[in-house]
């Protein structure tokens, strides 16, 4: 059985995961630079390892409209993703840890469901359960494709 390592993070009261193989770095709070002509789903840009990295408003994309995660939380972090050489980041409320799960422990999301605990399932590829809590897996590729296209 193949195992996969996941980074667990929290936005508001909900936990999410992404494969740790996609994570380039987790950095403490940083202020991104806003540009009026950036697409609406981007919060801003910042420099990481000599590259200009766009920060995606993940909380907004997942349906946390009006979320107060920005600029208010001392525990917040920015997760930087390396998707086949294309770097982008998103802000999270807190990093909760790393977890190993078996492939079969990640269950698919019902394609007919419209909301998962109030979350838009468009960028959710599956979920795991831990201590009675549901943890959603974010599909970083879909998130990036959609954000760049809109």
């Amino acid at each position: 059985m193949d195992e996969i390592q996941l980074l667990i993070f929290r936005i508001s009261d909900q936990s999410f995961t992404i494969p740790i193989s996609r994570v380039a770095r987790v950095v403490d709070t940083l202020q991104s630079r806003s540009f009026p002509l950036l697409k609406d789903k981007f919060e801003g840009l910042f420099i990481f390892e000599n590259k200009l990295i766009p920060i995606i408003k993940l909380a907004d994309s997942l349906g946390f409209q009006g979320s107060n995660i920005y600029y208010t939380n001392l525990d917040e972090s920015v997760v930087i993703i390396n998707y086949d050489g294309y770097y982008f980041g998103f802000r999270v409320d807190a990093i909760e840890g790393i977890k190993k799960v078996k492939d079969e422990d990640i269950k698919p999301v019902d394609p007919d469901v419209q909301f998962l605990n109030g979350i838009d399932p468009a960028f959710i590829s599956g979920f795991t359960e831990s201590d009675g809590q549901t943890i959603f897996s974010v599909n970083t590729e879909k998130l990036l494709v959609y954000t760049l296209a809109n």
Binding site: F35, P36, L38, I47, D84, Y86
Partner: protein, 160 residues
Amino acid sequence: MSSFKSTPTQIKGFHRLLVFEVGSKRLATPVDIVRTIADLEESMLVLSDSESQDTSDTRAKINLVDLLSLYFPEEIGNQSDEKKLIVLKSDGTRLNGIIVDRVYGVGSFSDLFPVPDGIFKLPDGVITHIITTEEPWFEVVNIQKIIEINSLQEQRQLHG
């Protein structure tokens, strides 16, 4: 196989750029593409026959693009008489230029950061780099690309 272009890295060294303003936006473009800069006088301009945004200098027949109306319609342009015409170098018979609100001058800037694809509301290739050595950061634009896009749009409109 990923369809994403890898995020480009910083370009080291010094780059000579012409810095100008459109509305409240400070922008820059490589100075080596610029042929001349002139005051923009109302008397120079007559509206072309088409309904495009272009105007023509009746003496030099310069094809002009008004950056403000094209990309920054929400901005209020400079109402004073500081508007400038930036004419680009050309290999052919047709000269191209852009109208800007103010020209700051030419400067050397280090450490340009190339812009990854797909992040701006404008077509890819219009904003090429970000200058981070000055506050606030500002964008380097490819004026040739803007003129190319504008010409294509005009041709499409003309041919229905």
